[in-house]
């Protein structure tokens, strides 16, 4: 895994420990613990998983096995402006793939990656339930509906100087 190594601050370790404690340090609560931790750090670097494995008294390999199983969990930090392109069927048949391709082309990154400057990351989602707006793109908290590949440039422009 090519993640940059980080050193957790004591306070951060304590935060993870507190989360584990909230769930009684039960290994069966691993997924809940990972959710809470990810919402705290934005991602789940290996160092964080080490603490969780220790606190829940389970093997690190198992924790990693769970983290890599679920697409919601990520070991790479997302961009400042995370771009989610809905690839649900409704969006797909209305051209989401072209939109996704265009984001990838413009930003020169693949799905799941973050631009070098840390500004943007691209993810594809499975149905955000806004099928009436298909194809849907979400950047941060903002939702864009009926997006075409020609709109991509303008959407990115909105964030370039932010």
């Amino acid at each position: 895994m090519a993640t940059t190594e980080i050193v957790l601050k004591e306070k951060q370790v304590q935060q993870i420990k507190d989360i584990c404690k909230q769930f009684n340090n039960e290994s069966g609560e691993l997924i809940n613990v990972l959710h809470k931790t990810q919402s705290l750090f934005g991602y789940l670097p290996s160092e964080v998983q080490v603490v969780i494995a220790q606190e829940l008294n389970m093997s690190l390999a198992k924790v990693f096995g769970v983290v890599t199983f679920y697409s919601y969990f990520t070991m790479t930090p997302r961009g400042e402006h995370p771009i989610d392109v809905c690839m649900g069927t409704a969006c797909y048949v209305r051209g989401a793939e072209k939109v996704l391709e265009e984001f990838k082309r413009q930003l020169k990154i693949e799905v799941g990656e973050t631009t070098l400057d840390g500004k943007f990351s691209i993810n594809s989602l499975r149905c955000v339930g806004a099928c009436g707006l298909a194809p849907v793109v979400i950047v941060g908290d903002k939702t864009y509906g009926a997006v075409t590949s020609a709109d991509v440039k303008n959407i990115l422009k909105e964030y370039e100087n932010k």
């Binding site: 039960e26 290994s27 069966g28 609560e29 691993l30 997924i31 809940n32 990972l34 959710h35 096995g65 769970v66 199983f69 679920y70 697409s71 919601y72 969990f73 690839m87 649900g88 069927t89 409704a90 797909y92 048949v93 209305r94 051209g95 072209k98 391709e101 265009e102 082309r105 413009q106 989602l125 499975r126 149905c127 955000v128 339930g129 806004a130 099928c131 009436g132 707006l133 298909a134 849907v136 979400i138 939702t143 509906g145 075409t148 590949s149 020609a150 440039k153």
Partner: protein, 597 residues
């Protein structure tokens, strides 16, 4: 309370919220305040109205006026015109696309006419964050009735008589499932609500949880009473933050009212509900995988038997039903098994919620009696195909389902007919496809999904689906052979025959059904190296028709790779070597001068 003269209901479902209904609601309240109307007019944020195509929806009561596509900037006009002057804002009213008639009562719209909302009965009607409104609409009376009047056996019998079948896809009789779990040796048991809606293009479970969480909680408690469980768990996708929030509120309010917790309604029955979160794995919709995931493990399915009803969560008997199933149940007890069984057809009773999407005019969430035909759904409720294009197919059952074609349009929709037609009910995704859709690409789309979502535990699904996808890619690139088509069919059958769980057992369905119904399209890809829908990039190119092009340069400006050249007011040319076939020029050209060849 109760003194409001008018209520403005505004959709607070995820889809409409994406279109800023929270802001709209805020502005509505502000304008009301400005006009000293806050005590007379109440703005209520409800769940989804279903008519997503026209969202955001605002409905004014008791005037029964249904406004569509309401944006924040419309708030002032709505208050000043409709509320203050009693004047309808015509431009925000629904216009029937055929008759051009303005319709303000949703009941008279084609979209709603044929619907019968049981699972969705409270969605778009009540404020899901206020238990009082749910109670006013009969919430928890079914639970009260069951606790007061029925033994678990009798209640299970009601379920059996109702003919209810699981709405999650398989269609297993719900009463029978409850019966089996109730007969598992006593001790700790669990009721699990499967809210891990993973089918891309289906969002009924989310809408129900967002719009009417109490009906699910109530039904889970009824189930708990029937099978002898005191704990309910809702396994919900973490990608559904709004549904999670509303469920949390609902659980809290139900506890405060004593409708969850100890000694519910004084009958000595205790039941409480906790949330467990999914983390983005479609396979967790499969009940054994869901249970693994709830236990904090990788969401890998296990071989059945043992079924969860015998050995489920933490090894204890567990009854798993999905959201829509639960949401329908209180009405069965309120109105009777006979009432429910009278809706639908011979083998499939009640109603089914579908998420209608794709190339259709009325995208949205609908609930129709079982046995409604596809034609009714697509042409009457759905309002026909978008942009006057030609209907090609409708995909049901998501990645596990198949494509139905015009020959199936008059087939009554039920579990068995859909399977007979080569598809399945699934969770209720219904994607309409038109002439611009390439059926090979559609199959490829679903296989890509399956490949991504396969857990990897069994070899046919792990490797077989990958190979299927690779063959489809090869075909779409124009490198397919006739043997590949044969290979697709054979491999699909073996994968179905040998896979461990429902995901693999159904994942080749999109291929098999498109092979059956659109073999000529496959042949064209393989033989003629042609994609008639112009979707497969390797088999198509964009060209400018010199006679039609007026040289407006719109395409030049939109082309991301500067592949288009030409003088102003002169016909343009696309450099095929540079063109990345993104289609931006095609979408942009107002003169239909760009053709797909």
């Amino acid at each position: 309370m109760g003194n409001y003269k008018t209520e403005i209901l505004i959709c607070g479902g995820s889809g409409c919220k994406a279109s800023q209904t929270v802001l709209t609601a805020k502005l509505l309240r502000e304008v009301l305040e400005e006009n000293n109307l806050s005590s007379e007019v109440q703005v209520v944020m409800t769940g989804c109205f279903g008519f997503c195509e026209k969202g955001p929806i605002v409905k004014i009561m008791p005037d029964n006026t249904f406004y569509v596509k309401v944006k924040p900037e419309d708030a002032r006009e709505l208050i000043e015109e409709h509320i203050i002057k009693g004047k309808k804002v015509n431009r925000l009213l629904y216009v029937d696309p055929k008759t051009k008639e303005i319709i303000s009562d949703s009941k008279h719209m084609g979209f709603y006419k044929k619907q019968n909302r049981i699972a969705l009965r409270n969605c778009g009607v009540i404020d899901p964050e206020n238990i009082d409104e749910a109670i006013a609409r009969n919430a928890y009376t079914a639970l009260g009735k069951v606790l007061n009047e029925m033994t678990p056996e009798v209640a299970i019998d009601v379920m059996k008589k109702s003919g209810m079948r699981g709405r999650g896809g398989g269609g297993f009789p719900t009463g029978m499932k409850w019966d089996i779990t109730s007969k598992s040796p006593a001790g700790q048991k669990y009721v699990v609500c499967n809210a891990d809606e993973g089918d891309p293009g289906a969002f009924m479970d989310r809408s129900i949880l967002e719009g009417d969480p109490h009906s699910v909680l109530e039904a889970m408690a009824i189930c708990g009473y029937c099978i002898g469980a005191d704990t309910g768990l809702i396994y919900i996708r973490a990608e559904y933050p709004l549904a999670i929030e509303r469920l949390k509120i609902a659980i809290k309010q139900a506890r405060e009212k004593g409708l969850l917790g100890n000694d519910i309604l004084g009958k000595g029955f205790s039941f409480d509900v906790e949330l467990k979160y999914g983390a983005g794995a479609f396979v967790c919709g499969e009940e054994t995988a869901l249970i693994s995931s709830m236990e904090g493990l990788r969401g890998e399915p296990t071989f059945k038997p043992p079924f969860p009803s015998v050995e489920g969560y933490l090894g204890k008997p567990t009854n798993v039903n999905n959201v829509e199933t639960f949401a329908s149940i209180p009405e069965i007890f309120n109105k009777g098994a006979e009432w429910f069984a009278s809706i639908g057809n011979e083998k499939s009773k009640g109603t089914k919620v579908f998420a209608l999407a794709g190339k259709i005019n009325n995208v949205g969430l609908i609930e129709v009696p079982m046995g409604t035909t596809l034609r009714e759904v697509i042409y009457e409720i759905g309002g026909g195909i978008k942009d006057g294009k030609k209907f090609k197919a409708v995909q049901t059952g998501g990645p596990s389902g198949g494509c139905l074609t015009s020959k199936d349009l008059d087939t009554p929709i039920d579990y068995d007919n859909l399977i007979a037609a080569g598809s399945m009910m699934g969770s209720g995704g219904m994607i309409v496809l038109d002439e611009d859709d390439c059926m090979v690409s559609i199959a490829k789309f679903y296989l890509e999904f399956t490949v991504e979502e396969s857990c990897g535990k069994c070899s046919p699904c792990r490797i077989g689906n990958k190979r299927l996808h690779e063959i489809l890619e090869k075909i779409c690139k124009g490198n397919g052979t006739l043997e590949d088509l044969e290979q697709l069919r054979n491999l699909s059958k073996v994968i179905k025959d040998t896979s461990l769980c429902g995901l693999g057992q159904t994942s080749p369905n999109p291929i098999l059904s498109t092979l059956d119904n659109f073999y000529d399209e496959y042949l064209e890809h393989v033989h003629d190296k042609k994609c008639r829908a112009g979707v497969c990039k390797s088999l198509m190119k964009y060209v400018i028709e010199p006679d039609t092009c007026i040289g407006c340069t719109a395409c030049v400006r939109v082309c991301p790779v500067d592949a288009i050249s030409g003088e102003k007011k002169m016909s343009h040319l696309i450099n095929q070597a540079t063109c990345i076939k993104c289609g931006a020029c095609y979408d942009k050209c107002k003169f239909n001068a760009i053709l797909i060849k």
